[in-house]
């Protein structure tokens, strides 16, 4: 897994790339929580994720819950087919706010 983060409006965009599995999901979790610690809204870009397992999904769930507690916005953008399949299996596709891209999300926020 690789990752990088950038700013887009009031959001931090954390882009995860490659396979998010048990070997790196602790790392992904750490990145997500760090981003939220800075007090900014967070979008996780999953467009380059080729695989994500339940431990990766668990990191996203934890980020979503942490953001809620901090009154921050949390969303997923550009969810790849591989990632969407797993989110659907976990019935989380209706739980997470999901947008096709960062730009769409920002414009949706108005």
């Amino acid at each position: 897994m690789q990752y990088n983060s950038r700013s887009a409006g009031t959001y931090t965009v954390l882009e995860l790339k490659g396979e998010v599995d048990l070997s790196c999901s602790p790392d992904a979790r750490k990145q997500i929580l760090q981003c939220l610690d800075s007090g900014r809204h967070l979008l996780v870009d999953l467009s380059a994720v080729t695989y994500i397992d339940s431990s990766g999904v668990a990191s996203l769930v934890e980020g979503y819950q942490t953001a809620k507690k901090k009154n921050l916005r949390f969303g997923l953008v550009g969810v790849s087919g591989a990632a969407m399949g797993v989110l659907q299996l976990a019935r989380l596709d209706k739980v997470f706010p999901i947008h096709s891209s960062t730009e769409e999300r920002i414009s949706a926020d108005g």
């Binding site: 396979e19 599995d21 397992d53 999904v57 668990a58 769930v61 979503y64 399949g85 299996l89 739980v95």
Partner: protein, 574 residues
């Protein structure tokens, strides 16, 4: 030994009644002992000769009877000669002159019984016979005293027995003792032979009642491996003119001839009635009535009997108190068909409810408790779960070969098989299905329980899934399920101990792909493994849900013969 003097030494010293007579007597008696195993008649004949030759008024042989009470054996008169027939007379083993002879294992000469405190005198009192003098010598063989030989009242002379008489009687006694011993051994052999013959006959009856194999593709296959002791297991099947196939498999309580005869009766009755009656409930009710009238107390028959309609691929059966048959579904699951009535021979007026099964491509396994009570390598009974595992692991292919494989496994760990092993499998289109049942290994690999190994495992699984025709979408799903399964092993079974080893085997039978994972971790709590409620939003606990959602069938358990757990998952290829 004091009781067996050297007769030839006596002869040489001339201390004999008459050399020729004595030799002749010894030769005669020894010869008749050697020739005959009819010990009672030989003893009667011998004792008569002893009495005449030694000039006594009466003679008898008493033997210790240890059967009734081994601690206080009685002496029983087995042969006698003289004016009073005392054969069958029982005396206490430690009383009287005979008792003293046996207890002390020495010859007793009593010249005047009226002065001997040991003389019991009960025979005289009852018969009017007057005992004056006694010569009594122990019968000893292999250092064991088995009884005594007694002469009463020397005729002529001074009416007393002398040392020469004592020596000669000792010689005769040792010959008699040996003959009795041999006869007893022979009796035992004859008895053993009789029992062996009986068992052989019972087994022969049993084997003759089993049907000939139905041939290639016949939907019913049975197998019976008798234990050393004959029991009353049987199975039967026959094809009726209307196309229905009757089948039955039963276990008659008890062992040996009784069980074999009852089995023969029940089996023949069923075989006969099954041509006329098509309702398995009615069939069993008819036989039950018959059996209840004649059965000996405490015997009963557990049985599964029914009819297969090969055209409709349906089975109707009734189960009278028998071990529940197992229906092995195509998706790999097993269903128990429970008994619906008590065994035959227990309740005279009894209904036997019929169970209807849609067989289709499933296989029905019927078996006796000899199968589930077989011992595994750790000496514990196999149980139904163990049998299920054997069925699963059996070589795939035609039913006969699978049953042979199962029987081979059943008998492997057992030193001496305790009970009959009898089992039957019913499946339609058996000849067309071998391909569906045959599995082929795609790959097997072992890897350390480290998260870093998951990536390569996923790549292998995906390639394998595509290689046997799975769509891209299905291959991705299979990868997810297998990955989650491996994660569970790493995280929960090994609890993060990365030195543990995981093995993954992938097989296919052409219509399904089968994944089997094994670990060597401590047995996990199987009850604790369940999918969580998805409405509850929390990280973790999704893996089991993923597996159940993706796979058609998954099953986990503890390994049979070693520490560890397994997870087997099946999915139909799209």
């Amino acid at each position: 030994m004091n009781s067996t003097p050297d007769v030839y030494a006596l002869l040489e010293r001339g201390e004999v009644y008459s050399l020729e007579d004595q030799l002749e007597l010894l030769a005669d008696v020894t010869q008749s002992f050697a020739e005959s195993l009819e010990i009672e008649a030989t003893l009667r004949n011998a004792i008569e000769k002893f009495m005449q030759y030694m000039d006594a008024e009466a003679a008898s042989i008493f033997l210790l009877d240890t059967d009734a009470d081994p601690l206080n054996p009685e002496l029983v008169c087995r042969a006698c000669a003289g004016p009073v027939d005392i054969s069958g007379l029982r005396l206490p083993g430690d009383k009287g002159i005979i008792g003293k002879t046996v207890m002390s294992r020495t010859c007793q000469i009593v010249r005047d019984v009226s002065k001997d405190p040991d003389f019991a005198g009960q025979v005289d009192a009852g018969t009017g016979f007057v005992t004056r003098s006694i010569l009594c010598t122990p019968l000893i063989v292999r250092q064991k005293c088995i009884g005594a030989l007694e002469l009463i009242n020397k005729r002529g002379g001074d009416g007393l027995f002398d040392d020469r008489a004592r020596h000669l009687l000792g010689a005769l006694a040792s010959s008699a003792a040996l003959a009795i011993h041999n006869a007893r051994m022979a009796d035992r052999l004859v008895e053993q032979e009789r029992m062996r013959k009986e068992l052989e006959l019972a087994r022969e009856i049993q084997m003759h009642l089993l049907p000939e194999p139905g041939g290639d593709g016949f939907p019913v296959v049975g197998m019976n491996v008798p234990a050393r002791e004959v029991s009353g297991d049987f199975y039967d099947f026959l094809k009726r003119d209307d196309g229905l196939i009757y089948f039955s498999l039963a276990d008659v309580s008890g062992k040996g001839m009784n069980a074999a005869l009852l089995m023969a009766k029940v089996s023949s009755l069923l075989h006969h009635l099954a041509r006329e009656i098509s309702d398995p409930g009615e069939l069993l009710a008819r036989v039950n009535t018959e059996v209840c009238e004649s059965i000996s107390h405490g015997m009963f028959v557990t049985i599964v009997a029914g009819f297969l309609d090969p055209a409709k691929r349906m089975i109707e059966l009734a189960n009278a108190g028998h071990q529940p048959p197992l229906l092995h579904h195509v998706d790999g699951s097993f269903e128990e068909i429970a008994a619906t009535a008590p065994p035959l021979g227990v309740v005279a007026a009894c209904a036997f409810p019929v169970t209807t099964l849609k067989l289709d491509d499933s296989s029905l396994y019927i078996f006796t408790d000899g199968v589930t009570e077989s011992l595994d390598e750790s000496n514990s009974p196999l149980g139904v779960d163990g049998f299920i595992k054997l069925v699963r692991d059996a070589e795939f292919g035609p039913a006969t070969r699978r049953l042979q494989g199962i029987v081979r496994e059943l008998r492997k760990p057992v030193v001496s098989q305790r009970d009959d092993i009898t089992l039957m499998v019913i499946e339609t289109d058996g000849d067309r299905r071998p391909d569906a049942m045959k599995t082929q290994q795609i790959f097997a690999l072992h890897f350390r329980a480290e998260p870093e190994r998951l990536g390569p495992v996923r790549a292998l699984v995906k390639r394998a899934a595509q290689s046997f025709g799975c769509s891209e979408a299905l291959a991705d799903k299979l990868v997810i399920a297998v990955n989650e399964a491996c994660m569970n092993v790493i995280q929960h079974a090994y609890r993060g101990d990365s030195s543990g080893e995981v093995s993954l085997e992938v097989r296919t039978n052409g219509t399904q792909v089968i994944f089997r994972l094994e670990d060597q971790a401590d047995p996990i709590d199987l009850q604790g493994v369940k999918p969580r409620d998805l409405d509850e939003l929390r990280p973790g606990g999704l893996g089991v849900h993923f597996i159940r959602e993706i796979m058609d069938h998954s099953e986990m358990g503890h390994l049979e013969h070693m520490r560890g757990n397994y997870l087997e998952m099946r999915k139909a290829i799209d």
